[in-house]
């Protein structure tokens, strides 16, 4: 075999292996992003249960269902999506299997929503929301204009800064209270 054919065969095998690895990675990424998968972990059951009650989780007349990763991973580039997915995947497998997730104060953690919900996710679906000229609730035009102004001024707020219960139908706190009640309700 001469050198030219050796390089051609090497490139063909490399290409096939690379394409195969990419397809397997894409399939794994695709099948590990929905509520069925995320909710299979004990700690995420309340999140998955309340997601199903929400308009984003299928409680709508169109039969539309988003995936957890549509909101909880950045959607602005494939690189940032895959980097965050890998990082969270490693973290979540370790935390779920080797720590007691019942000790995590999930109710308090909701206050960190701006860290784990991404505007790029909201805006990849709600693409024309910020430029609407009319709305059922006119107040939303004012608040979304405020969002755009803050973004332009370099002092942004995030979608979930206002939409604090989005994706979980306002029920997550109540669902989490079933495991860890905030109050003892001792009557006086």
């Amino acid at each position: 075999m001469n050198k030219k054919w050796f390089i051609v065969i090497l490139l063909a095998i490399g290409g096939l292996l690379g394409t195969g690895a990419s397809l397997v990675t894409a399939e794994i990424a695709h099948s590990t992003g929905d509520a069925a998968f995320c909710g299979s972990c004990h700690s995420m059951e309340p999140m998955a249960n309340t997601f199903k009650l929400d308009v984003h989780g299928g409680n709508n007349s169109h039969g539309f269902v988003a995936q957890c990763v549509d909101c909880h991973l950045p959607q602005d580039s494939v690189v940032s999506y895959m980097l965050d997915k890998t990082k969270h995947g490693i973290n979540d497998v370790f935390v779920e299997n080797f720590t007691n997730t019942d000790e995590i104060d999930w109710i308090a953690r909701r206050e960190e929503r701006e860290r784990f919900v991404f505007d790029s996710g909201c805006l990849s679906c709600h693409q024309e929301l910020l430029d609407r000229k009319d709305a059922e609730n006119p107040k939303s035009l004012q608040t979304h204009a405020h969002y755009k102004n803050q973004l332009a001024s370099g002092d942004p707020i995030q979608c979930v800064s206002c939409h604090v219960t989005v994706g979980h139908n306002g029920m997550l706190r109540s669902e989490l209270n079933k495991r860890h009640p905030e109050y003892s309700f001792k009557s006086k």
Binding site: G170, S174, E182, Y183, K186
Partner: protein, 125 residues
């Protein structure tokens, strides 16, 4: 005549001038959850003259917060013990926001007027 002209012109100019929202925000502090959103006064109040601002009604709060039911549903876990302040035994969904919540001064707890609420309610935001 010149004085009159200057007075009229000045009043016209200043009537349309926007006040210094940042110094007003320092004077009329917002609750932390609203402050974090970087709202100007006009997000809630109408007009450019703070002297003319009207106190808000519950319906103004609900233009962002949705509805009395939506607000009550967020505390649904308190319903079995009848301690949901937004859906109470006494007032149902009809309690005025301002019975407890205040924006520019400390909020109060209406329930605590008669009940000891320490075991079933947090600080009113």
């Amino acid at each position: 005549m010149l004085t009159l002209l200057l007075t009229v012109t000045a009043s016209w100019v200043y009537a349309d001038a926007e006040p210094d929202w940042k110094s007003l925000a320092d004077e009329y502090t917002l609750k932390p959850h609203h402050q974090k959103l970087k709202f100007d006064c006009v997000m809630c109040h109408q007009g450019n003259d703070p002297e003319e601002f009207e106190p808000l009604e519950s319906e103004n709060c609900l233009s962002c917060h949705g509805s009395a039911k939506k607000v009550a549903d967020r505390l649904q876990f308190m319903d079995p013990n009848h301690t949901n302040p937004h859906n109470s035994f006494h007032d149902g969904l009809s309690l005025d926001c301002y019975e407890c919540h205040a924006e520019h001064e400390p909020s109060t707890n209406l329930c605590a007027d008669c009940h000891t609420t320490t075991s079933w309610m947090g600080k009113v935001p």
